[in-house]
Amino acid sequence: MAEMNLDFEDVTFSDFKDESQSEFDNPLESLPPAKKNMVMFFVIDTSSSMAGSRIDTMNEAMRNVLPELIGVGGTNTDLRIAVLTFSSGTEWITSEPMILEEYQDWKDLVADGVTDLGEALTELNEKMSRKSFLRAPSLSYAPVVFLITDGFPTDNYQKGLELIKNNKWFQVGIKMALALGDGVDMDVLAEFTGDEAFVVQANNLSQMKALIRTIAVTSSQIGSSSMPLVSEDLLAPGDVVKRGPTKQEQMKEILQDIRIDIMNGAEGSYFDVEDGW
């Protein structure tokens, strides 16, 4: 048996001193550090064509994915959720980006009206700013924007699209679009994401459910990750230096895998009549 060292001569009082200080010892402790945070925007089509099984599946998928997102950013990151719906006009379901853990009670969306995508993008542009939804100083990551729609825009979407594409936060964020069925204007979605590789089409309800879940979880993981910093040379504007990596590129590769897994896998067969549109 090893001998226990009972020699305390080298141990001083300071060895037992608690390094942490309370706000009574150090007033600066009264303002605790905020975690890094990232906002994930869901932009959801609730036009009348979504009525029935699509909106039901959407509600189910969202209800299921919210608890799954908890913890994806690790212990040092708060993920916040902002939900914008659009039909005949727009509505923010969340009055501001909500901390995920406090936003677990999904209220079912109801489908009705037309597809005012342009208005939704205008609204998104307005809130995607330091003066609005992105005002928290602790906002460390570019946002994730996830558009879900099943139709053609019924308004003049070009104006909204132009606004959002000039939004700097949007430019550096991860953008994805999920098309539900084949009645969607895929070109518009490709314009929105900037690349058709970021547009995924769900052909039935189980694919829709699986894609919402997988894309939401994966994109938030990538979006909130502190990857080793890489950089590019000075960009075109010249006065701005890029500190972080292009996460959109990483998402692109993963979306290819997602397509293979979900579109061709067992989780959602195209010929599944019961799940069909």
Partner: protein, 339 residues
């Protein structure tokens, strides 16, 4: 005599990734003015010498300020007469000094093979890119103050009433993008201001600090608390360092630096007002916590009610099922041949 303090803490993420601290801070304190400066070297593989770039940025800013203010009275007359012109000249000289230092250093210390390997994919980079950094500089004088910046971070003024304001900020910062002194048209991102007045304290900090706060209000309140402890600079520095270590490990993960300048006499005169502000803050915080607790209890109660209603619904369903089973049993009994 003006006084101040600097504190630099290596980021928790940087320690974890074995990345050198890229922040630098400095201050110079004289009879008629004091200056506080911080610089945040960019992270990233191409900014291979940004720790040196930020050190040179701090030195260049302090040297520029000293050069302009060597004749204090003449400078005071000049900046009062045309502040924007003087500030532009200060900016130009700062950039000239920084680029001179970078070029001299680079001549004496060419890139090592390891460094060259890191940046070999891109031949178009200028040498300044290797040393990319931000800069924030604050100057407190007898009855005026001014400052300038390129890039993100926090620039805070605590005025005579212990009210906190942010006079300038980088307009180009969003997500992971930030203005840099190494960019080709860095001067376009140069922001500056000049004000008459006798603030209690000026503070500049790198973005690791402001990013560890959930709101700008908390960030401002933090500086009131800092001002309250500035009378004992050594103790204050110790408190800041401990707090920064916590903020980087639990918050931004980034390097955090601050440089403060104050006039001890003004500070003493304004201490009552600072203490009032601190009391107001504590009261607000207490109220906010009480409100949050009430909201939490309300939400808990609602959740309990929802569960109760759900259980009640289950009981009703079970009762219906029981009735149904009873009815089925009764029917079966009735269908059975009489014994």
């Amino acid at each position: 005599m003006y006084k101040g303090l600097c504190c630099i803490v290596q980021g928790a993420d940087h320690i974890a990734q074995n990345i050198i601290c890229q922040d630098n801070a400095g201050g110079r304190y004289y009879e008629r003015y004091g200056a506080a400066v911080v610089a945040d070297g960019h992270g990233g593989t191409k900014y291979i010498r940004s720790d040196i770039g930020s050190r040179f940025a701090v030195e260049s800013a302090l040297n520029t300020i000293d050069a302009f203010m060597a004749d204090y009275d003449a400078f005071t007359r000049a900046i009062r007469a045309n502040s924007s012109y003087i500030l532009t000249k200060i900016g130009e000289q700062f950039f000239a000094r920084w680029t001179d230092k970078i070029e001299a250093y680079h001549r004496e210390h060419p890139l090592t093979p390891e460094e060259t390997e890191k940046i070999s994919d891109d031949q178009s980079m200028s040498l300044y890119t290797f040393y990319g950094s931000t800069i924030l500089a604050a100057v407190m004088a007898e009855d005026y103050y001014y400052g300038f910046l390129v890039g993100d971070g926090g620039f805070v003024v605590v005025n005579e009433e212990a009210c906190v304001s942010i006079p300038i900020e980088d307009q180009n910062s969003y997500a992971n993008y930030v203005s840099s002194i190494c960019s080709r048209n860095a001067f376009d991102a140069f922001a500056s201001f000049y004000r008459e007045g006798t603030p209690l304290c000026l503070a500049v900090s790198t973005d690791g600090l402001i990013k560890s706060f959930g709101s700008e209000e908390d960030f401002k309140n933090y500086h009131v608390l800092l001002s309250a402890s500035l009378q004992d600079l050594d103790k204050c520095r110790e408190s800041i360092e401990k707090n920064f270590r916590k903020r980087t490990s639990q918050g931004s993960g980034d390097d955090i630096s601050i440089s403060l300048v104050t006039d001890p006499q003004r500070l003493k005169a304004g201490m009552d007002r600072i203490n009032e502000k601190v009391s107001e803050q504590l009261e607000k915080k207490k109220n906010r916590e009480q409100e949050e607790e009430r909201a939490r209890l309300k939400a808990q109660k609602e959740e309990d009610m929802r569960r109760m209603r759900s259980l009640e619904g289950n009981v009703v369903q079970l009762q219906r099922r029981q009735e149904e089973l009873k009815r089925q049993i009764q029917e079966l009994l009735e269908q059975m041949p009489r014994m």
